[in-house]
């Protein structure tokens, strides 16, 4: 078991945002969380990555308990994510966006940084090299020196994934990766997600409303409504589940 969430419950004030959420993720799996708007999907990502601390329950990566750890510790342990509304470091260059994500892997300390001594130079050179190699994979190397805010939307989405991968994650959480993409781009995205899963040896959880993508690439689906799981299963089961049809897909949906 790579990632395991058990009985995770979270309250905002008196409002129950997630109730008794469970998830078991094996190495290499690709799982989707779907559900109506406001069902608590992003909250689950925030709980896994330490942005919020679960009120109850346990989330473990391997044997390590994640609840109570800070976000940067969790990222260093191997969980990276993207955001629904892109959250790049806008004023900074494309390459710096990626290099910031290398923070946890770079080894030199404060004194070496202040006086540019010791491992500083070799590590910085390697950081640029690695960042450019990664950007090349995502076809972003030609815009490495641009401010990330100047990139068109699709490139910003790609950069967010590249930045997440720069932290060397085992588990990648994608929050609506297909938002703002047209059907043919979604087709390419599906290939792309399959490819990075293989290439970077990833286990992926994704939140998505584009059913073609969810049904096309995910092995298992977890449907949330009002913070609770209302259905789990393989795509075929979910498509025909009456509760899911009613709460989420709509009557007579073509998926």
């Amino acid at each position: 078991m790579l990632l395991q969430a058990e009985h995770v419950t979270h309250y905002f004030g008196g409002l129950c945002a997630v109730s008794d959420f469970n998830l078991n993720l094996e190495h290499g799996e690709l799982v989707a969380i779907i559900g109506p708007n406001g069902a608590g999907k992003t909250t689950i990502f925030n709980l896994i990555t330490g942005v919020y601390h679960a009120t109850q329950g346990s989330i473990r990566l391997g044997d390590v308990e994640l609840v109570g750890k800070t976000s940067n510790e969790i990222t260093a342990l191997g969980i990276a994510r993207t955001f629904q509304n892109i959250r790049l470091f806008k004023e900074l260059s494309v390459i710096d966006n990626v290099r910031i994500a290398q923070y946890g892997q770079m080894k030199y300390g404060t004194w070496e940084a202040m006086f540019h001594l010791g491992g500083y130079q070799t590590e910085e050179n390697r950081s640029i090299e690695n960042a450019m190699n990664l950007l090349e994979v995502f076809k972003l190397d030609s815009v490495a020196d641009e401010s990330s805010k100047n990139l068109p939307y699709g490139m910003q989405r790609r950069l967010e994934i590249a930045r997440a991968l720069a932290t060397h994650p085992k588990v990648l959480l994608l929050d609506e990766p297909a938002a703002g993409m047209n059907p043919s781009e979604i087709g390419q995205l599906m290939d792309f997600i399959r490819w990075i899963r293989k290439e970077f040896d990833l286990t992926i959880i994704l939140i998505e409303h584009q059913m073609r993508l969810v049904m096309g690439i995910c092995e298992r689906i977890n449907v949330l409504d009002f913070g609770a799981t209302i259905a789990t299963g393989v795509p075929k089961e979910i498509q025909n589940n009456p509760r899911v049809l009613e709460a989420y897909l709509g009557e007579g949906a073509e998926v």
């Binding site: 069902a39 629904q84 068109p152 047209n182 781009e185 709509g250």
Partner: protein, 239 residues
């Protein structure tokens, strides 16, 4: 093609960000009463075009609304002239409640009765928002914020509505609802310029469409022509 009055005219529009050219000399018209959609891949320049029209980014070229040149017009004046919009990044006021966000959209309207009816209409479309009236905008989920942004544009009742991907981040059942509403408000007299990735849905509600590719107009025509075009089918409708 509609013979009605030209409401919005865009000529030789150029927009750049830093060294990146987003829009390269595009021209198109939107006539009174139409739904016109801009479709195309990411980075084709659709959103930039909308931002240019609403006065949010500097541009070269000519944009006129009801015959008036918008080049020197400030963004707030453009809104006051009747151009409503769902701004970039949803533009929710995070520290105001849902109700306050909605009320702000109606601040320049005087028709109290109509406003009340619009509130009802918005709540029928998005019952979720009614449940969250007292909640702060910033604490809504992403999809709920999108509902709020679209509702706000609906409430401001402009004569031209600029919509930048209204379906983004919404559950499938709501996506269909939104397009249904779009057609309704259009029939009630609002002209719509719609940027949408969901080209399939967009072309089904639109009268005409323009296909943008890397900052230029590659193709234009009536919605049904575009829907039937095999090239469009392959490139934007997902086969």
């Amino acid at each position: 093609m509609s013979t009605a009055e030209v409401l919005l005219s865009v000529q030789d529009l150029d927009i750049s960000y830093g060294n990146i050219k987003a829009v390269k000399g595009i021209s198109f018209d939107v006539h009174e009463g139409e739904i016109v959609t801009l479709i195309g891949a990411n980075g084709a320049g659709k959103s930039s075009t909308l931002r240019g029209i609403s006065g949010m980014v500097p541009y070269h070229g000519k944009i006129s609304y009801r015959g008036k040149d918008l080049h020197k017009t400030a963004a707030d004046k453009i809104v006051a002239m009747g151009v409503a919009q769902v701004p970039e990044g949803r533009g929710i006021f995070g520290n105001l409640t849902v109700l306050e966000n909605l009320k702000l959209a109606t601040w320049q309207r005087k028709d109290k009765v109509e406003i009340a009816r619009d509130f009802e209409r918005v709540f029928t479309i998005f019952p979720r928002l009614k449940e969250r009236l007292k909640q702060l905008g910033g604490t809504l989920s992403g999809g709920e914020q999108q509902m709020l942004a679209v509702s706000r544009a609906l409430m401001s009742r402009g004569s031209l509505m600029l919509l930048d991907e209204p379906s983004m981040g919404l559950a499938p059942v709501l996506v269909r609802e939104i397009f249904h509403v779009l057609r309704e408000i259009n029939q009630a007299g609002t002209t719509v310029l719609l940027v949408e990735q969901n080209a399939n849905m967009a072309l089904r509600v639109a009268n005409r469409g323009y296909v943008l590719e890397t900052g230029t107009i590659a193709l234009s025509g009536t919605a049904s022509e575009l829907l039937g075009n095999p090239r469009i089918k392959e490139a934007y409708l997902g086969g």
